[in-house]
């Protein structure tokens, strides 16, 4: 047994891949059985990750979640800034420049409108909850955009690990809310054409939430929503830690 523990500690990253694979599998299974695929498996897996981060924090009494336990240190490496930024940059592969040109004006307007709306409401709510420093407000506002923009912004502006975790939790709640509310609201808000799906993807942003929500509404709309939603995170990562942070700095 000591051999195995030593082996795992020496090959932490590899063990991390295995752990995340198992968490993902559990998320998918819970999604299919308990939630009848209404909540995407990836969203549940992220919640499970946060849960493990919580339990790991209790167990190790540290600040690094489950990565604070030496056996699981590899998860910290896999979830560290290097892999995080590298994989997110890679998602730009799914953004087809030609399709984006076609989404054009409407897509761009809804994209900017969506980011500003989510950011401003996120900041106002964080303010109402008692946060007063620009870095925390900016990170939570960014987390209201997506669970990726939040931590990227938090790392860039130097927010605390707690605030970054909160911004991820906010982004995950958003993904689930978009997934659940999209099919319910689709008819009432006129979400039925490719154009409206592009505008919707741009405004909502969370790629997995938009894809899952549109799949539950009308599967033929999914690629149109996804193409603008893909851009949301990139534009959010560009605006939140730069322009928006500078504006917040004027007030706090």
């Amino acid at each position: 047994m000591d051999n195995l523990v030593g082996l795992i500690e020496k090959n932490g990253l590899i063990f991390g891949f295995l752990c995340i694979g198992i968490i993902f599998l559990v998320g998918e299974m819970l999604s299919k059985t308990i939630f009848r695929a209404k909540i995407p498996g990836s969203a549940i897996a992220i919640f499970l990750g946060l849960l493990l981060g919580y339990l790991g924090g209790l167990w190790s009494d540290g600040e690094k979640g489950i990565a604070g336990i030496s056996l699981f240190a590899g998860i910290g490496l896999l979830g560290g800034s290097m892999f995080r930024d590298f994989t997110i940059v890679a998602t730009a592969l799914g953004a087809n420049l030609e399709l984006i040109r076609k989404a054009g004006w409407l897509g761009l307007i809804s994209l900017l409108f969506g980011i500003v709306l989510f950011f401003v409401l996120g900041v106002l709510l964080a303010f109402a909850w008692g946060f007063r420093d620009a870095a925390s407000l900016c990170t939570i506002g960014a987390g209201a955009c997506t669970y990726i923009v939040g931590p990227i912004t938090g790392a860039a502006v130097g927010a605390s690990s707690e605030v970054i975790a909160l911004s991820i939790a906010t982004g995950v709640v958003k993904t689930i809310a978009v997934t659940i509310f999209t099919p319910i609201a689709a008819k009432r808000i006129g979400l039925k054409s490719p154009e409206s799906a592009m505008a919707f993807g741009g405004m909502m942003g969370t790629s997995s939430g938009v894809a899952a929500g549109l799949a539950a509404t009308d599967p033929s709309l999914v690629p149109y929503g996804a193409v603008t939603a893909t851009f949301y995170t990139g534009v959010g990562c560009l605006l939140c830690p730069s322009l928006f942070y500078l504006i917040l700095n004027l007030f706090f």
Binding site: G49, A67, I109, S110, A156, P241
Partner: protein, 122 residues
């Protein structure tokens, strides 16, 4: 070659992050500003350029696609290694700030469609 795709991703990543660092310095913030966003733009431009030169093979695309599919697993690993314990104390904010803006967007969506959809302007 798969590695060419990974290398394209790597150079886009490094150039973008470098630009982010330079912009951060220039703005006087001790932080990387928008490096990931710049890197994404570099990757898309680089990919387009190679596609036009007919140098972008399926294997190269696969080298990038693998990493793009790894982003949710990495986000899970990141979530698991955060200080969630402390975040729980202000947990209600995550629920409120996650749901309220979504509902507000649903209310604003028909207005955006009416205002900016080219179809309505002929």
């Amino acid at each position: 070659m798969t590695i060419y795709g990974v290398a394209l991703l790597a150079i886009s990543f490094l150039l973008g992050q470098w630009m982010g660092e330079l912009l951060g310095d220039w703005l006087g913030i001790q932080a990387n500003v928008g490096g990931v966003g710049f890197a994404m733009i570099f990757l898309m431009l680089g990919k387009e350029w190679l596609v036009q030169k007919k140098q972008m093979t399926a294997e190269m695309t696969g080298g990038i696609a693998f990493w793009s599919k790894m982003y949710i697993p990495v986000v899970i690993a990141m979530a698991a290694s955060l200080n969630v314990k402390s975040a729980i104390s202000s947990g209600s904010l995550a629920l409120i700030a996650g749901i309220i803006p979504v509902l507000a967007s649903f209310l604003a969506f028909p207005w955006i469609m009416k205002k900016f959809n080219p179809r309505h302007h002929g």
